[in-house]
């Protein structure tokens, strides 16, 4: 499994490098292989299909323009792509922040704490390792970190959703992040 995954990662890296020299075929191939993953991430954050489509479009136009700055020594292609897609989704969410705060329905959504497919043979070693470290956190803190990551919510929004004071949410998340770093960097 991890051999397949490694080959896939290397192929994506290679595609991104080719896109850096304006190879349109490589661009089409990269889109074919990664757009469903990226769209899933955008859609989960934005919860609106047409907004997610716009962000996906922005993401890939940026990929085309910035591929030449992709440095495989610094990040894998998929990390680079996911980072772009998440950053653009979060920026979009922040633009709408005031509307969201005015809309109690959006804040009332239940925290995202779906069972994770950690046992899935298909997740990478990196994911399994991260999952192992997340499992060491207190359940509420773990669920806050996951909610934050998948929805792109601010501290304020998270505190409201989880019905805890802002200070509590901040300390949960910060403590979790430090714990995760210690666990992952071992």
């Amino acid at each position: 499994m991890s051999a397949t995954r490694t080959i896939e990662q290397q192929e994506l890296n290679q595609l991104l490098i080719e896109i850096g020299s304006e190879d349109q075929k490589a661009f089409a191939e990269l889109y074919k292989r990664t757009s469903s993953k990226l769209f899933g991430v955008c859609l989960r954050m934005l919860r609106d299909r047409s907004e997610a489509e716009e962000v996906l479009q922005e993401t890939y136009t940026t990929v085309w323009r910035r591929a030449s700055s992709f440095n495989v020594a610094k990040a894998s292609a998929i990390t680079w792509l996911m980072t772009l897609a998440r950053n653009k989704s979060i920026d979009r969410l922040r633009q709408h922040r005031e509307e969201q705060l005015d809309d109690p329905l959006k804040l009332d959504e239940t925290p995202d704490d779906q069972p994770t497919p950690a046992g899935h043979a298909e997740t990478s070693q990196a994911h399994q390792r991260l999952q192992g470290c997340l499992d060491e956190l207190e359940p509420q803190q773990r669920s806050s970190v996951r909610e934050a990551f998948f929805t792109g919510a601010t501290y304020n929004e998270l505190a409201t959703r989880c019905k805890v004071p802002l200070g509590t949410m901040k300390s949960w998340i910060r403590r979790s992040l430090m714990q995760l770093r210690t666990c992952l960097d071992q």
Partner: protein, 285 residues
Amino acid sequence: MNTPADDNNHLRYAEYVLGVLDADARAAVAHEVQTTEAAATAVALWQQRLMPLTEEVVEVEPAAYVWARIHHALQLNAPARGRPRQGLWNNLPLWHWLGIGASAAAIALLVVVTVPRTAPPAPTSTANPSYMAATIRQDNGVIGWTATMDPKNARMVVVPASPTAFASGRAPELWLIPPGGKPISVGMITPDQPTTLALDPALVAQLGPKAALAVSVEPIGGSPTGQPTGPVIAKGAISGVPEASAHPRKVASTGIGSGATTAMLNAPDTPGMQQKTATETDRRS
């Protein structure tokens, strides 16, 4: 080993990657990442740590038109949908020539050039025109662009008719405006050259005599919002033949070469075109 200041910085970078910072704090970290190597490295490390979580997200296939939009926005070559069609339809200098210097003589010449003498009359349907055109005029009445649409092959050629200057970083974006609907981006067009655009099926479905085309001024990559953000500089209704200008309305298959793309101009039926209709009928009989 870590000082409290280190920890604070690390926290900000971690919070940035996790996505919990508000707009201002996010912008501050994003700026640091651009300007300092240490911040860039720290953020990259957090991305490596946290990004594997995205593996849990259910994949969702985006609609096909998203890829078409990306292609248009970047002005890449037409998406590879089978072999590129050869023939007059792809002959951009020809469209350019038609768009700028169109005249009855030019059309007549084109008919002479392209109608094979032995070809049988091509079946055409007047009820369902296979081609549509639009003259896209600026507010002062000057024709900015002409557009010819080929719904069957899902493509459109947009030809500049008069030079239009754009500020640096700005480019024209073409929009389709369905009756009573919001503009739909057709794609970015080249200011000074004919542009061939592939049309996604949702867009083709909206083409018709009640729809219009418009050109707005947008950032190079296209409107960031999906709706026009800059001034609309030219507009035009989609119709048969655009007024008295001799723009081809329908191009019918002659039955030879590569089907519909080996084109001849066929029986336009607006008053201004009567003469050429007669000419063509003569040629056919």
